[in-house]
Symmetry: C2
Amino acid sequence: MAVALEPKLDTSAAQTRQALLEAGGAVFAAVGFHNATVREICRQAGANIAAVNYHFGDKEALYREVLAYFQTRAYQKFPLDLGLAPGADAPARLRAFVHAFLLRIFDHSSDAWHGQLIAREMVDPTSALDAIVVERIRPQAQHLARIVAELLGGQPDSELVRLYAFSVVSQCLFYSHCQPVVIRLFPEQEFSPAEIERLADHITRFSLAAFKEVARTRRGQSAAKPLAPKPSASSPRRQPAKPRRARRD
Amino acid sequence: MAVALEPKLDTSAAQTRQALLEAGGAVFAAVGFHNATVREICRQAGANIAAVNYHFGDKEALYREVLAYFQTRAYQKFPLDLGLAPGADAPARLRAFVHAFLLRIFDHSSDAWHGQLIAREMVDPTSALDAIVVERIRPQAQHLARIVAELLGGQPDSELVRLYAFSVVSQCLFYSHCQPVVIRLFPEQEFSPAEIERLADHITRFSLAAFKEVARTRRGQSAAKPLAPKPSASSPRRQPAKPRRARRD
DNA sequence: TGCCATTTCAAACGGCCGTTTGAAATCTGT
DNA sequence: ACAGATTTCAAACGGCCGTTTGAAATGGCA
């Protein structure tokens, strides 16, 4: 992690390294760690097959550096307090948080693979997820928890705040995790910067409205308000199981 | 697809087929389609390596049948109108929708892999996703859209309703897609039936509160209410790029 | 029981994978 | 310009993959 001297940035070796990082981001984002092949990454980077092992050690080490690289870029480009006045109030900070979150996910400018890399890592974790949670996700969760706690009037580490913070981030992550489904359901849907602004507005307004309404009627606490009866334990019926054979026909 | 006669259910061949479906569900859910190996599935099913190709044709055909099998089971066990009175109002139907959704995701009883299979398919689609969207997701989306439209007072196919429906399902899907992260952030979190009830209550209450608040202040429509200034186009700064070499040391 | 279709089995095939190798090319400092 | 370290390169290695094969085992039916 610690680096004493900065590398010569325009060395041929440094260029190869950089090309491998960029190509690795593209390929890992497109097909995931396991499906990605070192051959394809090297091809896209214009490098030899042995380049990954020479410059990074092995495929997994390259993957870790790719994750760190694009993550750092994304958070440098869109920090947690993106475009926020110093003394901004909680609603404004919530809006900034949501907007920056969406921008990090949807930054498809040239080569920004952070969103897709993280989405894959969340659903199909590699050994790199633990570090990501500690270094990025947990601070972000605490940041959001402070905002939500201020809006709800609870403790940042309370279970209530956790539930409401989940409700906020989930609305952002949806567009990252379910993009293939959203595109199939609504092919006309686009994710231009203007559209992302509107999404951020919606999510912020939706959440703030829920916060306000809940803060108003805060007495039933978080106990279960039974709106529907139990599912009556319907047993999973036997399915017909079609008798198709696949061999020689 | 069409099956004329029902197969002999206790045939040795039918048992093998069934065992392959169950084992396939477990393995595909655990590691995804690409990472799953036919050898491991056959091992768990107690079948020979050639069994998959004999009974299903190839690995992908097995995967399609596994998806259909567990999907059918999940929706039979937890239908869209789970435990709902015939003339129930919109809030009750929303609650039932959310609860059934969560139950389908979290049904870890013995061998119910629907949730994990679908989550993987959404983030890393195979050719099977198109059929899933048409047969399952779209009807479900329309079902929810009708509920939301009734609550908001709009058209089920309006953009406003779509946004709000997304906000509801996203809160459910979050626990499916981000389970590895949630577990790492909050190791004490559990997903017992009682906890799922509480989750369903929270999501329903959160969403209904937002609906109510929005329906009350419905005049600014869905235009962008600028809560924060533009990000001032901060260019992605150059990152330090540590100069580590990996070979021979 | 004996025949034949169905199902299982162990073994192998071809292919793609990550990685290694040792030589060739290229840089770096003198 | 030259020696030595660094970087690139084509080729190959071993391993695991999905699938195929042909024979052996099994089951239903006369």
